[in-house]
Amino acid sequence: MIYLIDDKKKRQQQDFEWTHERLLELDNVIQPIYSIEELEERSKEIFQKQNIVLYHESFLDNTLKAGIADRKRQKLEDFAGQNEGFQLAIFSGSKQSRSIESNVAYLPVAMVYQNLELLCKRHINGNNDLRYLLFGENPEIELELAEKLDQALKTLGESNAKIPGKNLFLRPVKGFIQNAVENADVQTLHNTVSDEKLSQNIEEWLSGVEYDNIFVPLCFGKTLSDFNGLRFATHIRCTPTKNQSANIFIYGFVGIDSLLNHEYFNILKTKGVRLVGFSKKAFEKAVDFQVDSISIQEVAKEVLKLKLELPKNHDDSHSVTNEWAIQRWASAIGVDADNEIGEVLKNVESNLYFKYLRAIHPVNASTRIPASRLEIRKVGNPKILLIDDEADKGWCEIFDSLFGRFDGIYFDYLGYDFRNFSNRQIIEQCYAKIENEDIDVVILDFRLSQGDFFADKPESITSIELLRKIKAFNPGIQVIVFSASNKVWNLQALQIAGADGFVQKAVGENVNEAILELVDLMNDSLKKAGWLKRVNKGFKRIERLTVGYQDQFRNNLRNNFSICFDMLAQSFVEKKYLNYAYLQLYLCIEEFLKNKDVFQYGDKCYVNRNIKVAQKIDERSWNSSISYNPQTGGTPSFYSYAEHTGEVHIGTDYKVSAILILLFNQDTSDCYNWPNIRDVRNRKAAHPEKSIVTNDEIMEILDFLEILFDQGKRALKPKIGLADGIEEESLKALREKFGGKKY
């Protein structure tokens, strides 16, 4: 544990921004102590070998307890002397130097708070080296640089450098050169070195006056070895200001060999940028030798030499790509930057990598996509859901702008709190939303959690698991995968899992293409979803009606539905698949009729095993309880409840009609659209080369199946079939009547 013993609470919280909340976040590794009472009370836990104690040298100075505090400090020093594992750092506001002797360090207060987070991180990993507190990430280098700076400051030279033209001299907040360049404008670079801050500096200092030469310190910010001067010079070159092509002199007290591995080293390879010595004379000399100034036209070419790479860290990379894509998409679509997306756009505006990308791929107003091309053709009142762990960073606004502006389109998103959830929780939350809200189209980010970056196989990636679950729930829901990833194995895995489309979070020149692709895909998806979801719901309802049916029948039914669904999905590509889908559904009727409980075929035919519907008289003739009525004019053929003796064709139409008339107690089979369904099957579906089945016809046959399979819809009192008791006598009479064979 690290114990931070400092009574100067305001200094801690305000000056160094170590607020109560920030300390609380790290309370598993650091404990602040503000009073002597607390120090006394926790003495036992503090005086432990593996602890680190950071002690304000003047703890409770100028109070009545100063003496006790001083003795406590002495006790800590003694304890440190006896226990090598125990680390003690004594800090003060009036200390200017950093030193360490064995396990006791002495340092200025600013260093403590500057490097405290780093010390905490190291301590968590079992590293108690106090040098990280004194010198930051690279103790050896930092110490060497600090000594070099001290030395360099002693040999600056007296008179200021006389350099022709308009000059801007930038200096660090500490260890700066005063009056370095005669008549130069002077600005101070403070310790905050975020891209946002540096961009702000450039905006303030380089937008107005046009300079010939800009002098940038190689070392500024909290850590000398960060060599922020290289980064700042890169910022200047990548930021479109009137000083973008000014000569840049980076002045430092180390040679170029110390900078070779720096991320922004390439800036020194570009024209118009030079590393110069840390003295006034060196400035004068450098300007004399500067001959490779560049013009504004050459800037882009020079910037290309920088060859900046995406940040190596996965998290950053993910975030960087996302933000860059958001900026590009927002710009192409024309999203207002007055809400949450503004933060992202601001970051993209100031982030050096983005600046670099913009310098390479400039965006201009002409790349804006016309609103007419972004039109969404909705069917009904569709519901779109975005699932993206970075949804709230701007994507939700972009999609809301794309889809939400159309009346009747519901748009919502999930993802802002995914980082607090496990993969399982993410999937459950999304699934519940899709089910409860009856979502039609899901825009799904490929990577939804940090764990997805380290998944062994694509199948275990959260989005793929979720995709499978969505498709199992209702394959009619359209899922468009939306991701920065374009790896083949990812695409393959997504396709196998049932993704309906893929749109890349494009960042390059193909942003507009990707947006238009998404719009087209969305139009297709809305059309598909509206129809396929309904079909699938119908399937589900029908399946539920067959709960008591034989397993084999049910399995066949499921297979048929599955094939049918694929064909219906395929029909969006080739219409003839509608016909095949229809035939597949018709097959379900035929399969149904094969069940002896439904229709028993033989010399005597029964419906529901107990209603005799037909009895064979001889090879050519039957006695039937229903009689055929041929087509007349516009009325299709049908059967009616009337006994008939003669030629009978006991096919699907007969069987279905018998069921409808006898079991459903109908007068004719011209009910529930059956004659039409039968005719569509025979005249259209079977002949795709001639005509195509319509979606309505598909729905009609589905509705019919739902009625046919629903035992609850059958009449409580079915109609009476052929009488059983007089069977032999009747047959004899009928044979005589029709001249049949005598027995």
Partner: protein, 416 residues
């Protein structure tokens, strides 16, 4: 005659340039004189002496006016030495320690030797009774606190002059210090017009902000034309750096260690070209704390090295071999400058009985007195090894040693 002298006293007392504490002292001395044995003229003569001297050489006479001799102090008994009569009265260096410690710990004066953070700012606003930092009020409080401290402790003319220079840019009589205060001739001070103008232009913000406050507000504080510190060789160009520099002028501690100070003095004066130093860091700890007049301390150190080189005869082929060490006891800190390869130039008897010669005399008079005590440990030749207290307010005495090699000068800085 007597009348005129009384008039003189009256005139002197009415002189506006005489400060209250000096006036008080004059009255005491006059009263004492009048009550003493001897003629009135003789008594007045003593007073007159003090007064004339006070006008002629402000530093010494002011000390005499303000500071009674320490009870134990007396001039070295060496009638044969032509220098001994010119030796000053002994000034106890522990007073410096006490005074500087009190200065450093004073709640208000602390802000003149520490940069100002948010907590300190609250304290200042508290005793200034304002919601916003106000330099004018702050400085008034500083002067009030300092004058009170100045009155409380007698003597210490040099250190008080130094602090007055730092705070006001002026001497005791209000005369501008030209070219500046301290050995660095520092022009900038708490009353400098440029500083006051800056404070007027930057109301609410202290001129000497801490690093945290600088970052938080993105304001460096008050800046002025750079000067290079004599003590460290580092450039001083902000007021925050100046207050820390000022602290370093009297507070020796780890980040302003005597080792660093002496190393810089060696580098600056090129001592290493003339002397072979031997410094064992174990015997020269950096963590020893001390309140002392660092400028004077360095002058003492340089003075001793001058003596060593002078006695060595200027041979560059064979440099004198000098071991430096530092140690502390409960009551003092001792800096040892030990020339290993020599014997003392005078016999032990001469050293003790004939007193201090011209070179030591000047060193003591100008540098050592009031800064530290000086002790000599040496091989005096002829089998005489001894320790002699050259300057500590007591008569010089020899403490025989069984053996000793070389000549060691010990600068002792008493703490109490």
């Amino acid at each position: 005659m007597a009348r005129s002298k009384y008039d003189f006293i009256r005139e002197l007392l009415s002189d506006k340039k005489i400060r209250p504490n000096q006036r008080e002292r004059i009255l005491k001395l006059a009263a004492k004189e009048i009550g003493n044995d001897g003629t009135l003229e003789e008594r007045i003569s003593v007073v007159e002496n003090f007064l004339f001297n006070q006008r002629a050489t402000s530093e010494d006479t002011q000390r005499k006016l303000e500071e009674p001799s320490s009870p134990g102090s007396q001039k070295l008994q060496d009638s044969s030495s032509d220098q001994s009569t010119n030796l000053p009265d002994y000034r106890d260096p522990s007073n410096v320690y006490k005074f500087l410690l009190a200065y450093n710990q004073n709640e208000i004066l602390k802000s003149t030797c520490h940069d100002i953070d948010s907590d300190e700012l609250d304290i200042i606003k508290g005793y200034c009774n304002t919601d916003e930092y106000n330099f004018e009020l702050h400085f008034a409080k500083i002067m009030e606190a300092y004058e009170s401290l100045e009155k409380r402790d007698f003597g210490l003319t040099y250190i008080k002059a130094l602090i007055r220079g730092y705070l006001t840019g002026k001497g005791f009589k209000g005369e501008p210090l030209n070219p500046g205060w301290s050995g660095d001739r520092i022009v900038m001070n708490w009353s400098h017009p440029d500083l006051i103008k800056w404070c007027n232009d930057n109301r609410g913000f202290p001129p000497s902000p801490s690093e945290g406050l600088v970052e938080k507000n993105e304001k460096v504080g008050f800046e002025f034309s750079m000067f290079t510190s004599n003590m460290s060789g580092k450039p001083i160009q902000t007021f925050s750096e100046l207050v820390i520099h000022f602290k370093h002028m009297f507070h020796v501690r780890r980040d302003n260690s005597l080792l660093d100070i002496i190393s810089h003095a060696n580098e600056k004066n090129g001592w290493a070209d003339k002397i072979m130093f031997e410094i064992d860091h174990n015997n020269f700890p950096k963590n020893i704390e001390l309140f002392a007049d660092v400028d004077k301390l360095v002058q003492c150190y340089n003075g001793i090295l001058d003596l060593i080189i002078e006695n060595h005869g200027g041979s560059t082929e064979q440099k004198p071999n000098v071991r430096l060490s530092l140690c502390q006891s409960t009551h003092s800190v001792q800096l040892s400058i030990h020339q290993l390869d020599t014997i003392y130039g005078k016999s032990l008897t001469d050293t003790v009985e004939r007193g201090i010669g011209r070179s030591y005399g000047n060193l003591i008079k100008k540098r050592v007195n009031g800064t530290c005590n000086l002790t000599l440990k040496a091989d005096f030749g002829q089998g005489d090894f001894a320790r002699v207290n050259l300057w500590d307010g007591k008569p010089s005495e020899a403490e025989k040693l069984d053996s000793f090699s070389g000549v060691e000068h010990i600068l002792e800085f008493p703490k109490m």
